[in-house]
């Protein structure tokens, strides 16, 4: 065994996927370290992904051979399944608005703390807590908050004389989706706050001091200095949030199961319903939806990355 078997450079070129090293380490050593991870990856990620692709062009009969149907599921999905389109629409609405809300609230909170609010540590910990609570608990809790008779939202409206505004927030198609979205943002705003705060804290003090000398107020500092400088972080957060909304399942399933009247149906809940709830025993059709959605998520992420690519990188 030679010295060369331990990687020399800790800093490796990122752009290159293949690296050629004539004096590399023995294959055995590398394989010993990598095999468990690769095995887990192959059996529980790669194979299921391929199997889902296979499912999506077959009808899976429970007691008979799989029947190849080509693109039939995809055609049915796009042309003859209104519920699917409702699910896509709801998920798109969610993925379109909620990331801005999540990141926006997180950024404002972070700037508040960065502006040297007292008890910053306490606030930071209190605001982050919802991130750690399971969707099941969050969902039930907010079902109570939205409860028609004794939920605090209607209670507050009655207290200020807005009796006519009270409603069964999760029971009416007009408000159910917004109500679940608010709950999801409640859970995740703290996460965005903490990330923004970390990015702000990493900024060089001189720049902000210079802005202060120029008699810049807080809004000016935030808008013209802070936001442009932490832009890469904000883009990352938007993308993370978008991915989160595109696969949203847990909260919807707990709170509304997609109802009322498909008002909160998302692609994930619809896939779950078609696969495990409807007694059709056909896993092919929901697999086709999953494959379709997989590519939508990929394209959305790449499009966002492209749209927000940094043309002229700020160096500091």
């Amino acid at each position: 065994m030679t010295d060369a078997s331990v990687g020399r450079g800790a800093i490796r070129p990122l752009g290159r996927v293949f690296r050629i090293s004539p004096d590399g380490p023995p294959l055995g050593t590398v394989m010993t370290f990598l095999t468990p991870a690769l095995l887990v990856y192959l059996v529980f990620t790669a194979y299921p992904v391929l199997r889902t692709f296979y499912n999506s062009v077959h009808i899976l009969h429970p007691r008979a051979a799989d029947e190849y149907v080509g693109m039939q599921h995809y055609v049915q999905m796009t042309t003859a399944d209104p519920t699917f389109w409702v699910a896509v629409k709801n998920t798109m609405i969610w993925a379109g608005f909620a990331p801005l809300l999540d990141v926006g609230i997180g950024l404002i909170l972070a700037i508040c703390l960065y502006a040297k609010a007292p008890f910053a540590r306490f606030f930071r910990i209190a605001w982050f807590t919802p991130v750690l609570i399971s969707y099941v608990v969050v969902g039930i809790l907010w079902m109570w908050i939205y409860n028609f008779d004794w939920g605090i939202l209607n209670g507050a409206l009655r207290a200020v004389g807005l009796e006519s505004w009270t409603r069964a927030w999760l029971g009416e198609p007009d408000t159910a989706l917004v109500a679940v979205m608010v709950t999801h943002t409640w859970k995740w705003a703290g996460f965005n706050m903490v990330v923004c705060l970390a990015a702000l804290s990493a900024l060089p003090k001189e720049v902000l001091e210079a802005a202060e000398l120029d008699n810049c107020n807080w809004f000016g500092k935030a808008w013209f200095v802070m936001i442009p400088m932490i832009r890469p972080t904000l883009v990352n957060l938007l993308i993370l949030s978008l991915i989160g909304k595109m696969k949203i399942f847990d909260l919807v399933w707990i709170m509304t199961q997609g109802g009322p009247l498909w008002a909160t149906e998302t692609v994930s809940t619809y896939v779950y319903k078609r696969a495990f709830q409807w007694q059709t025993f056909d896993l092919g059709y929901p697999s086709a939806i999953a494959v379709f959605w997989f590519f939508v998520v990929l394209v959305a992420v790449m499009a966002l990355k492209y749209a927000f690519r940094q043309r002229d990188r700020l160096e500091y």
Binding site: L27, P118, I140, V271, F276
Partner: protein, 275 residues
């Protein structure tokens, strides 16, 4: 000027206090509900508990199967986190320390699964586990959790391991350490801060996980806490008091972890997003 500055500060403080009430209030309210009976709650949903009924926790624990759910959650979380950590650290060490053809390709393949929506695997995972007799088994669920948490674990650990000074490894090599010894005696102890971060992070994720559990587990005796709470909610819709107690049983361990490791936890949850 100082006058308007004071007003601005006061407004700021009011705004963040309001947000704190919004963010932490619901949780504090659940904690109060968990000590009150449903009949007390229905009289005054937002009152402070007159008597703290600790026995509700005993009741939930023994009478409503929460002991089973809790033990299942505990066993599944501990084992899945343990396996994820060992497997992930080995892979991360290899990818960070050894130069070989395909290194970056493997890293990229593992890492890219972070953005996969779970639907793309969940149906086939269900089929696969049924095929191998691992459906409705805790072992099956543990293995699935390992695979779900692995990409993030490898990503975080590789980033940290790659920054360890190369001299350490060269010195160890000269002292005649084997590859396995280098991993266990150099990378693991020195990489401990990063390993602890991933352990905490994975613990929280797996403890709270719902989708895979609901698809892959069907027996009452194998349910984890999130499934148990959902089941209890379905059966006893009106028993607000007991549901709240069950919710607290699921949340308390996380609160304890948070109280001890809040900095590490926040650091772990946000690693990768800061640029």
């Amino acid at each position: 000027m100082p006058h308007s500055k004071a007003i601005t500060r006061a407004l700021l403080l009011i705004a963040i206090s309001l947000y704190t009430a919004f963010s932490a209030g619901p949780f504090a309210w659940t904690a109060m509900l968990s000590f009150r009976t449903t009949s007390e709650i229905s009289k005054a949903p937002y009152a402070w508990p007159e008597t703290f009924r600790w026995q509700k926790y005993v009741e939930a624990w023994t009478g409503s199967n929460y002991d089973t759910y809790f033990v299942n959650s505990m066993v599944i979380t501990v084992l899945a986190v343990l396996v994820t950590t060992v497997v992930g650290a080995m892979a991360a060490h290899c990818l960070a320390r050894y130069r070989f053809r395909g290194n970056r390709l493997i890293y990229f393949i593992i890492f890219s699964t972070i953005i996969f929506p779970p639907q793309i695997t969940i149906i086939a995972l269900f089929q696969t586990l049924v095929d191998y007799g691992l459906y409705n088994s805790r072992v099956g669920l543990i293995l699935v959790y390992v695979s779900v948490q692995l990409p993030l674990t490898v990503f975080l650990l590789e980033g940290f391991f790659a920054r360890l000074p190369q001299d350490l490894f060269d010195a160890a090599r000269m002292d005649g350490y084997s590859d396995a010894e280098i991993f266990w005696k150099i990378t693991v102890p020195i990489g401990m801060p990063a390993i602890v971060t991933t352990v905490i992070l994975n613990t929280v994720h797996i403890w709270n996980e719902f989708l895979y559990a609901v698809v892959l587990i069907s027996d009452e005796s194998k349910r984890t806490l999130p499934l148990g709470i959902q089941k209890f909610m379905g059966d006893q819709l009106e028993d607000i008091g007991m549901i709240a107690t069950g919710m607290m049983i699921a949340v308390i361990p996380i609160v304890i972890v948070y109280a001890i490791f809040s900095e590490k936890l926040i650091q772990g949850m946000t690693a990768g997003a800061v640029k």
